[in-house]
Symmetry: C5
Subunit: 364 residues, 5 copies
């Protein structure tokens, strides 16, 4: 889960691609559309791609898997990708960013999906936006873009009427929207943790709070730079992004800022939760100590008194008295009662001695 960058051996020349043995073989799917028609194909011979470079239609080349360096390099050549751009796309993870090259604009993002058991899966997605084409590159098969494909096929809305920049916007928009379920899940998780912290005494809470904090840090690291990247696509001069799409990107920008806002809020809450846990444990230790102190304070003096009259001295005049035993018992009872009254007054026992078990009933 911790950071592990796939980087070339130190000192490699720039543009070196690092592809692990276990990488998925690339699957290339192409959707080519104009207002009037949609063509979907799976490409098996990479050279077929050349015909999409300068076509009038909008083409989305979608590559899943990077297990073939020659093929990836050839794609790079066909679309005239800068060596550094290709390296950034392949040697994951890269920090999210946007970078403008002569022939295309690269947007690197991190795509999240809520997997089973609230597991957050994160994967780098590289979106190359050229004139008339969008090339997306990702490592593992499977993505979250089926709704976009459906919209292309359906031909409703502005998608088919717009250019490649609108398609790129739609992809970025989906990626950012994909963060909402994740933060909502994390929010609910924090709420559950808070409730448990206050009512139970479970040590694994600590691990969970720490984990939540770590996930929020990850999230922040993923979203924060995207805010800047989107902003630079809105503000900077960029031949590949039209005015209309910039208005839409402003909307995506707002969402990214909202995600950051909430992430920061949750991060503060997670920090407070850790403090809350510590205070709760301290409070519980205090409660435990009180039980011990009450028990010990009541019985230790009494035991001592019993010990006195358990001594075997020959000359202990009290021992022979008839009233001595009941008197002593009464005295012990009085002392015990006194102690109880003392602790009652201190609020350690009785109605004021609330413990942490169910504290929130009426307080909210």
């Amino acid at each position: 889960m911790f950071f592990q960058k796939r980087h070339p051996p130190a000192g490699s020349r720039p543009g070196t691609l690092v592809i692990p043995e276990t990488a998925h073989p690339p699957v290339i799917r192409v959707i080519d559309y104009t207002v009037d028609r949609v063509e979907e194909t799976e490409i098996h011979d990479v050279e077929e791609l050349t015909r999409f470079v300068d076509s009038d239609s909008v083409t989305w080349i979608d590559v899943h898997g990077m297990g073939d360096e020659t093929l990836i390099r050839r794609i790079g050549e066909i679309f005239a990708l800068h060596a550094l751009a290709l390296e950034d796309a392949v040697n994951v993870p890269q920090r999210p960013k946007t970078e403008l090259y002569e022939r295309c604009n690269l947007y690197i993002t991190r795509m999240t999906r809520l997997g089973d058991g609230a597991n957050v899966e994160v994967e780098q997605l590289s979106i190359f936006l050229g004139s008339g084409w969008v090339l997306t590159l990702q490592e593992k098969p499977g993505d979250i873009f089926d709704p976009i494909r459906a919209r292309i096929r359906a031909g409703l809305g502005p998608m088919r009427r717009s250019g490649a920049d609108y398609l790129a916007y739609a992809l970025i928009d989906m990626v950012i929207d994909g963060y909402y379920p994740v933060i909502e899940e994390l929010g609910e998780h924090l709420e559950r943790l808070e409730e448990t912290t206050l009512s139970h005494d479970e040590p694994q809470l600590l691990a969970q709070i720490y984990d939540a904090k770590r996930q929020l840090l990850e999230l922040r690291r993923a979203v924060w730079p995207q805010r800047d990247a989107i902003n630079s696509m809105i503000r900077d001069e960029n031949p590949f992004v039209g005015e209309t799409v910039r208005v839409y990107l402003r909307d995506v920008y707002d969402h990214a800022v909202q995600v950051i806002d909430i992430t920061e809020t949750y991060r503060e809450l997670a920090g407070s939760l850790m403090d809350l846990y510590l205070s709760t444990v301290s409070q519980r230790t205090n409660d435990v100590m009180k039980v011990l102190t009450i028990m010990a304070s009541i019985f230790i003096p009494l035991t001592f008194m019993a010990g006195i009259y358990g001594m075997n001295f020959e000359h202990m005049p009290e021992l022979g008295q008839r009233w001595a035993y009941p008197l002593l018992l009464s005295l012990m009872g009085l002392i015990g009662m006194g102690m109880i009254v003392f602790f009652w007054r201190k609020g350690w026992i009785g109605p004021k001695a609330k413990t942490l078990a169910a504290p929130r009933g009426s307080s909210r």
Copy 2:
């Protein structure tokens, strides 16, 4: 209470409105006024609104409830609202912001009200400001704007003489002013919490401090972006906001900054309160431990001594001595006194042993 955004299914096309089944049906009220007259109507047929779009009067269209997508969309068409603007207004919560479109200026804010039991109710309010009209959209019926309606009817002050921008300013001003009672309530709550923390030992305090912190975070998240939004309405070029109203907005801006200031101060105080609680509990544990240690240190050695002479050895010469018992008792008394003196000197008992019950009497 945690963040839950109403967002369209991932991959929907931009402008998709998400309206839950349980949404209130929209109620449209219109106040149309010039210097000379005021007309208040409740609109039942949405097409009636068309006549207000280009009228010379100032029109406030006030929509409560969003439970009719067709109607909402039709309103959007009548006033030529951008699809994204409408989406932001409907798919709550949106981050507060201002956004300038061709035909109107959108200001999204969060309206707060102190409900029963110091409960803070927060709702998104979207204010569209066009030329000659203001359109406000909110989810639930009921708002805080009756005083403004009264001012419009009364016709005193600059309201009736001014344009739609003044009306928008008045609404934003009221929203920001609405934060004052909330932070004052929170401030008093913090003060009560502080007092209780120092004098009582109630575990639910923890939950309450944590809660206060969370509310302050919410508040900050609501007000902070409004500062920027108002500032951009003051500084940016904007055909819908006149020079005179910008001076008034500067005043609102100052109030927003003041609210943020106090929120931040309270947030720091809430953080310190958590530390205070922890220190207080530690201090109390210390006090509990002292009681235990004193009791145990006094009586455990004495019990041991009694135990010695409770042994049944045949040859224990002391047992037969007359003076042995009183001597031992005296010795025990001396040891006990010694212990008490020892702890007195250490300041654990006696006048120096102040506990946390009532610490602040003279110290302030």
Copy 3:
């Protein structure tokens, strides 16, 4: 002590003045001076003020108390104060700021005074600077400006030779200088708290540290915005402030920054003090526990041994032995000594067992 703003009922029109029933009736004092003469009068009929508006002399109109709305409003009319400016001056507290209007420049500040018992009194002071006049407004009678009046009367220094802007500067300078005794008092208070924290075990320390922190937060909230306000008077175009006075204001600015600097430093120290207290209490609990553990560890096993030979079994061969009792006593002594040696080695008793009572002797 917590924030309580006097704000008009929500929805009032801008410029509404909120004056409590208990407000002091206004007392108006005027000092009018040129290089050659000084005239001091107390004004009883507000209309007398009109003659000072356009006079060639410099006039300081000093209003204490706001308990007469008509009068305050009339003053506003005479000096052509903007409705919002007057509202800011009356509805206290306002965030310190400077605001430039057509006919005057408003500077809102917070005046502090060290009262009895190191009590910090804070009051809002509004300084209106017009051409040829300065109008100051404050709520309660009494101020810190007698030295300035003396300087005007004495006619030494540049005061009488300079314009109204110099007078305004002199007032602001005094307000900022008034923070020095307050922070110095707070600094000494922190130093005393630190010393007490390390040497004593007093629970009210917590309340005091928390209080100091709160006062520092208040102070910061009062000074921080003044830095910006002064800076904007130095840098912004402003017809009421001359070049010469801007040089003087730079000096005030430096002082404001110094006050902020020290406030921030003290705030950090107060935060550390809270940590220090917590650590100290933990250390003390540790010391208490050691006493208990030592007592218990020594005597509990011995008591058990005594208990063994206090049993009444008929067949306990040791009981009849002559040497058994002294042997057992010796054994007990040995065990006790062993325990003491064990704890000595652990450093819990003996010279290494320093406690917190007087820790700093040679360490500084």
Copy 4:
């Protein structure tokens, strides 16, 4: 490990070089190349360097060791290095920075290497970039640049075809890439620490967490200024760095930002780890206290009861009863059971009483 700067005696004139007695004698290696040829020589007479200053080829003069002030000064003269630039290179450590002089551009960086046992070795490297030459200066023999030498010799890639600025870029790129293994190692270390914190109770963890925090602070101090330095090489006017190389430097910049990002994330995690440790220890103390309290609460009252009937009063009617002993034993059993039930209900014993030993099994 703490900061120790080699600075000249206070008041020395600028440009004073401080070379310790133990410094390595300088070894000068030169690689001189054009597209067509590569020449590698070790220089023994410093004057030989003069021929490289204005040659058409690209020359990399690589100096390891500074133990000869005359020689270092002569090198400075040959390449016309500014006295302050040379001082910065020799009096290590200097803060990483870039500085533009008339005849060359100085880039000071910190080179890291993972030594044995995850030991991070850090050394200052100074890169002087002139027109046609790169001069690198470092204190100790040995560097991480062998792959670059290999690339020069091999003549593949753009290296041989490019100028001195490309060589400088390649060196900086390698230095930044050298941080990745270090942060990855630190990340794994943190993960191990986290796991151990949650499952074991080892005091040296504290030292290790503290150490990790310190290393991260060091790292941040090394990388943070390099971000600015690289940025200023990209943005500022600089005759020594061409347009093409600036594109490459953008890539290095991104890597530096990524390293900073991860360092900050780890620093936050290390901070949380310290909190985690504290909470864990508190939780464990709580567990220990429970064991003690349970044992004491069960047996102390029972011991007292036994003590009662161990008293030697002559008139204790129960003592003679046949049923008294078994009755008392039963009563004791009941009381013991009652206590156990009481603690069971409180969740201190039984299945709910999870301790910290293995908390994370299913929770992830």
Copy 5:
């Protein structure tokens, strides 16, 4: 040690000098030099200074002590110092800053010296830089500038050939360089504190860590503003500072930034040390509790069992059995062993029960 400003009585007119009774009488030393000659004199009649104001040589007027207001004022007149500039120089402490006046540039700094016993002595030094002269003012006799005097006399290096700005630079450079020994001392102090925190249990550590934190805060407050001051001397238009000297000042700027960097790092470390101390104490309390719990858990049940058979019931059949005593002893032994095994397994005793005494042996 805490902040104590010497400020004039509130309301004094600007330029009021505050000189305490105990101030040292001023000693004025002048060094006047050109490339060819050096003249050093001690001035007794202040009027002699007039001849240096417009001379062609460079003059350094060095005033130690301020105990003569007339004389100080006369110096101010001779060099045409602005009243506010003189006030800033005399009413110490002033925040470090640079301020440009018509006739000179004022640089206020804080000079540090490591006194005996690592005591840091801080004093304000005011450097007035005019055309052809430098005037330095300080309160107490003694400074750190002897090496500069030596360099002037020796006539080596650029000092004698350069103007007054170079002299001012040399002074500032020395002041900044003077911070290095201080932070190095503090760094070593922190390292020692860290080691002691981990291996010993000394309460005065707390006071020392707190002290170190305070000193670091002081240091930061001294250096931070100097960074800005130096920067403004480099960047701003300033007739008194030449181009060449600005290059040198860039070097001083870098050093100031480095000092700030390390101060911040140390401040974070000091904060972590406080956490470390707290965790260490908690860990130790935990260790103490374990000893107590083990002792009590083993012997309390056994004592209870012994108590049972110490009862004096007449009908206790076991008492008469031959095997009862050895059986009970064996049982007790078993129970004791069982407890020991239980705690061994829990890791509280035995090889796993490492305590904090010597934790770092192999872990680094």
